[in-house]
Symmetry: C2
Subunit: 170 residues, 2 copies
DNA sequence: CTTGGAGTGTCAACAAGGCTGACGTACCCT
DNA sequence: AGGGTACGTCAGCCTTGTTGACACTCCAAG
């Protein structure tokens, strides 16, 4: 039920001495940190007609120009209807360009326009500033540990996406 | 270690060699890891009539029995209307009990019922299992670094909430 | 006692962003 | 020619966030 009452529970974790309380603190750290992590871009987007979903799309298109819709779908883990709604507005507003594939004409390859790149820059600058400050404050070894834990926390398929297996244009 | 292409960019961060690419990877690690982090409870809640908001409420009430509505509001960072909608269903369903404060009768102190505690247990067990596995895989030093970075990433007020300043009963 | 303000509950309306289901179109491949 | 793939889209539903407005209870100050 709770921390340290049962010697057996502690013993079962004797390698790392992970009490429930420590794990609880880990959960809450994730919650609060993620809030901080998204706070800056959210504030910027709040002033415009866009939301976090647009940010994600712009981010991953910017990071893998020429990626296909299907590819993005897998990375973001949403339905095509959800993604399409976001993509439609971004394309209509001229932030994203969609090109029919050369090899396979069913596919659409996505690129940021100049305007899209500008917004991506603005958003990621805000987010990177916080991340940079946090990394500096915590120190290099802490950053390495941070990365190791986060990686271990992902679903395996996501770990693959994360490890630079991003799809590229045909 | 550093894949610095632009000497100027590297030099500007010479203390830690933080390239934009490293920060980008940090962002994506947060994104994918948070997805993994919430995946298990979300799956459980999806079968019931509850969502992530209910999980959060139950979690923080369970961790600080007797907390007031206002307290919870500050921790969760949502409007009272949003929280109230969630709380109302939890109270109606008998998972949460709301008691009028002794000293200040305007306040409501929130507690989990037996049933509520059971659900909290079920949800946090799933989440803790993933966290535990990740912590084990990454090792103790990595966990310490993980905590340090997350803490540095929070907003200052949230850091206060996180550091066990949770409100308690009247 | 009156009054102001804090803490809370609640109604109404709305928006973002998830979801499912269904359908159409264009295309690739066998 | 037909089946499966990639994509777009319409329609509808849900959760969860938002504002704004209003009422009630109660504490504390005047």
């Amino acid at each position: 039920m709770s921390d340290g009452r049962s010697p057996a529970a502690v013993r079962s974790d004797n390698l790392l001495f992970l009490t429930d309380e420590q794990l609880r603190q880990g959960s809450e750290a994730m919650f609060f940190a993620y809030r901080g992590f998204t706070a800056d871009p959210d504030r910027i987007l709040g002033d415009m007609a866009y939301g976090r979903a647009h940010h994600r799309a712009i981010h991953f298109i910017g990071g893998a120009p020429g990626t296909t819709v299907n590819n993005l779908l897998n990375i973001l883990g949403v339905t095509k209807q959800s993604l399409n709604r976001v993509l439609r507005t971004l394309i209509a507003d001229g932030l994203v360009q969609s090109k029919v594939g050369r090899n396979d004409k069913r596919e659409r390859h996505l690129y940021l326009t100049e305007e899209g790149r500008a917004l991506e820059q603005k958003l990621s600058d805000a987010q990177r500033a916080r991340l940079r400050a946090a990394f500096r404050e915590a120190g290099p070894e802490a950053v390495a540990g941070f990365r190791r834990v986060l990686e271990a926390m992902m679903d395996p398929e996501m770990r693959a996406s994360y490890t630079r297996l991003r799809g590229s244009g045909s």
